[in-house]
Amino acid sequence: MEDTIKTKRMSWGRRNAPAIATAGPVSFWMIVFVLLPMIYVVVISFMSRNVYGGIDFTFTLANYKEMMEPLYLKVIWKSFKLAVLTTVICLLLGYPLAYYIAGKPSATAAKLIMLVMIPYWTNSLVRLYSYNLLGATNGPINNFLLKIGAIEAPLDLLYSDGIVIVGLLTAMLPFSVLPLYTSIEKLDKSLLEASKDLGANAFTTFRKVTIPLTMPGIVGCILLVFIPSLGMYYVPEALGGGKVMLIGSLIRNQFLVTKNWPFGASLAILMILMTLIMMWIYTRVASLDDLEEVF
């Protein structure tokens, strides 16, 4: 009796040995470094903060209620707005660019993709602080505009939502072009010809054939841009000069400055939820294997 159980167990182990050997280490890694910390974040988001900035392990919903205060709602709403705006602009700029690149012979396309990726390879902090220099009241842009008489007084280019969006855009545009390029490049050009052949003009063809068939790329682009834009705190900090407070900075402050970990955790959970909702929408639109191709 015992013997049979043992052999069964062994054969199970043998049978699945390759799977365990390959997926095992990764699963272990994911459990230890992703799942457990996540669970911890969820748990402390329901705890309260003690007076010394530590965690008091008593259950409370206060952190989530606190989020509803107008001050925080405003930050959350603004973060959301900026992320949406960044995403939309990335799509509007990235799509034509990706379309243009996809129309080139593959050798040229590879070079163009390289060009698109270059900003991504330069150190982002250096890049961001160089914007600060460029956009300063006495920086080159203002000086130039003053000289040619386009403006009378220096523009307040820094510390605004606008410059934050520019910062986000330069950081995110490479990511938006890649998934778009992948799906546009895959698009069978004879389908566009078939559409025109059947009487559709360029616009109708774009709407009825091109857009639906490149939807995985579009949603991939939205995911790749929206999620990081939402949480990226160093861009608003470097360019917004503390004037533009977004959810990413808020979370960081809760953990590192105010030492209110439970509240920070609850904000983090909110962000994760927003992300999950986006992912869910994505899987509704694109099939799983398309998802793999995008990433």
């Binding site: 010809e193 078939a194 059947l198 639906p212 068939l213």
Partner: protein, 357 residues
Amino acid sequence: MAEHIVQLEKVNKYFGDNHVIQDLYLNIEQGEFLTLLGPSGCGKTTILRMIAGFEEATNGMIKVEGERVEDKEPFERNVNTVFQSYALFPHMTVYDNIAYGLTVAKVPKDEIKERVKEMLELVQLMGFEGRKPDMMSGGQKQRVAIARALINRPKVLLLDEPLGALDLQLRKQMQIELKRLQQKLNITFVYVTHDQEEAMTMSDRIAVLQKGVIEQLDTPDEIYKHPASKFVANFIGESNLFDGVVESVDGNTVCAKLVDGGRMKLDAEGFSAGDAITACVRPEVMGYSLEPVEGFDIKATVKNVIFIGSQYKMYAFLDNGQEIKINRTKQDSNVREGDTIWLHWENDDAYGIKESV
């Protein structure tokens, strides 16, 4: 005078320095099944694409229904295309694919429904309307592509090797179906293929192309019997070609000396002494005997005989190495491998080709 539904006049097309179509004249008649036949790269697809509007002619004139179309977009032309790869919209159902032309033309929903149903019946795909293209077999996809192209009731349907991806049996079946469809709807079909048998089976007329030039445009029967050039003779069916120089002309009968030695005679018009002539003799009328025959002096050596079911194919070769094909429905037990035979033919079984320029 028959009405020309499509006219190409002195059309040229260059891709860079590549002169793909050269001074092409082509008049296509209303309701005919015209096939563009030729080897790979001869410009068949390019001609279709210029008629459809996907490719711009470098110069020349293209008319559809008597109207010049060079400046018209593909969606403004009353022609539709069946693409070789089908080009069905993968994100749409069979119904939406077929309905596409009407949907973009904003035809009322009820009418669309009616006409799609009509099309489904025409191509015998009732019950498939809810399927996506990737759930269909090659032959079914082909039918969807045809239905989708026909729903706009085009004056001309352009088909670019539509059966190229199908296996032989299905292809034969679809050939018959397509031909029937074309006759029933009385639509002009311009059909591209490089399969000469397919062209012979289906076409009213065949345009044999080589390197962007039409070598011959005629009925399958005419082209087979009276090939205009050696290229056509070789491309359409099997043939034995004998190059010679005319020695004497007696009424219809031409006597000629073979370039590589020997003599022959045949019925041919328009030749005079000294002209170059090529006799085209099809394998099924190629005669031979064990003794020389009056008027002929062509010696060959039998290589082998193959039985292919419907006939016996005998292969022999001339002294200059040229292969001779002879087809018979019955086996000839008098001839064996290595035997010497003397070739000849009835005067009117050979066709004299003027050396093409």
